[in-house]
Subunit: 247 residues, 2 copies
DNA sequence: TTGCACGGTTGACATGGATCAAACCCGTCT
DNA sequence: AGACGGGTTTGATCCATGTCAACCGTGCAA
């Protein structure tokens, strides 16, 4: 059966996806819900999409109708200016939500691209609003998630506004490490899913600067880098880089 | 009657404040509500606080229990790093909401300071959640407001990550102009409420750089600056500065 | 009225990161 | 196996913005 051009780029698998037995439920939307409440959430979240590396989950300008919970994989979001400049606004991993920016004016305001083969749960937003009018816990948790996104963005603004290159990269690595840990992965060893250029775009730096900072950290014994493979050797050392911001 | 030290710094006036006859209702939370729904919102928003110039509406770390709608005046929000660095994360004016960042972990994550004598409406958050479980329009509008904040933050990240000094300042001025216009003020002439240092902090620049950029714009006939008084003479010119980002 | 304090402006100079360019590494295709 | 291409590393140089310092303007207090 032929697929339309639009659908072709992401294959939709209508697999019954249950929050109730998802191991990410404590990181994700169902956090704090009772069994019975979770069952009601399950009714609404029943489509899972697979997105292959490099494909868009959504694009800026497309009508907004759903948010997405990442079940597995890794994404970036970015915004584009008319003159071609773009900036990565975030990297998202399992258990995190994508698409919250689209609520504001019924259209997505950024692009979401998979950086590795990924799976997301499709959450129709108006049905989520309906359900969260009935389940207070869900309502409150959703508000917390949105608020957390605002706080995170303030952190990035701080980083972009006041930190120098090496501080930014240290903050970035520590943040990744901490999020991997929360998902049960090694806090000290991981593969970067994004290029130096994407890291640079996120951190407001050029790719060469990112590369040099990696090399510098390696020379100082803080990390071991081998292309995309990172081993963090000295977490306190990285933290220290963030604190003494002169030289 | 003596006031406690905590209360002393902001004088609370328990004046009946009605959204229903507030001229900011179309910019603010009541947007889109029917008369009857607005009356229910009125029941919940019945305390107005006056905050004098320089005083804090709230501070980072304080327990969160309310959000605030600005009735009149002008605020800045800023975050502080342990090592003393701080950054202004936004400037807020009448009709805008303050405190959304506090939802995420029951504590405010930034400081909100009045830049001129101001008045805010006090909106107990749990009561707002209760009401928005009953009024779909309110619920949806509140979600839009939070989402808009996220989109705004992405814009600031873009600005901090990719723009040069003069582009940032042009973007800043155009944004202010546009928000003043939306509130019925002149789009071309206004007084800045913040210092050069605060502008710089927001834009990720030093105050001297901000000052030089103002002077440069003046030389080029784009604006007329006289200390805090700004007159915008050439809006297309400012827009153009933002677009050609090389030299 | 004078003087002080705070914010703003301007200049001279220093520097972190951008830019430009070459070479390298690694996986993939032929 | 060889060649190609995307991503990365490293070096040399440049420039926008930071830093430091002097001075100015305005409003408030004595």
């Amino acid at each position: 059966m032929p697929l339309s051009p639009v659908v072709k780029e992401i294959s939709i698998a209508v697999i019954k996806t249950a929050c109730s037995n998802c191991n990410l439920r404590e990181l994700c939307l169902p956090f704090g819900l009772s069994e019975e409440e979770m069952a009601r959430l399950d009714e609404l979240i029943n489509v899972r999409k697979r997105i292959k590396r490099g494909e868009h989950l959504y694009r800026a300008g497309q009508p907004f109708e759903s948010i997405y919970a990442i079940r597995s994989g890794f994404f970036k979001t970015d915004v584009l200016l008319e003159d071609g400049r773009d900036q990565v606004t975030g990297f998202q991993m399992a258990g995190e939500l994508l698409g919250l920016d689209g609520i504001s004016n019924e259209h997505h305001s950024c692009n979401a691209v998979a950086l590795e083969d990924s799976e997301v749960c499709h959450i129709p937003f108006s049905r989520l609003e309906n359900l969260s009018r009935e389940i207070q816990t869900l309502q409150h948790h959703f508000h917390k998630v949105m608020s957390r996104e605002i706080v995170r963005d303030h952190g990035v603004m701080m980083l972009l506004g006041t930190m120098r290159a090496e501080e930014r990269l240290a903050a970035f690595l520590l943040n990744l490490s901490q999020r991997f840990t929360a998902r049960g992965f090694s806090h000290a060893e991981f593969n970067l899913r994004m290029t130096r250029e994407e890291i640079g775009s996120y951190l407001g730096l050029k790719l060469e600067t990112v590369s040099r900072a990696f090399s510098r950290f390696q020379e100082e014994g803080l990390i071991a880098v081998q292309q995309k493979h990172i081993r963090i050797l000295n977490i306190p050392g990285l933290k220290q880089i963030m604190s003494h911001h002169n030289h």
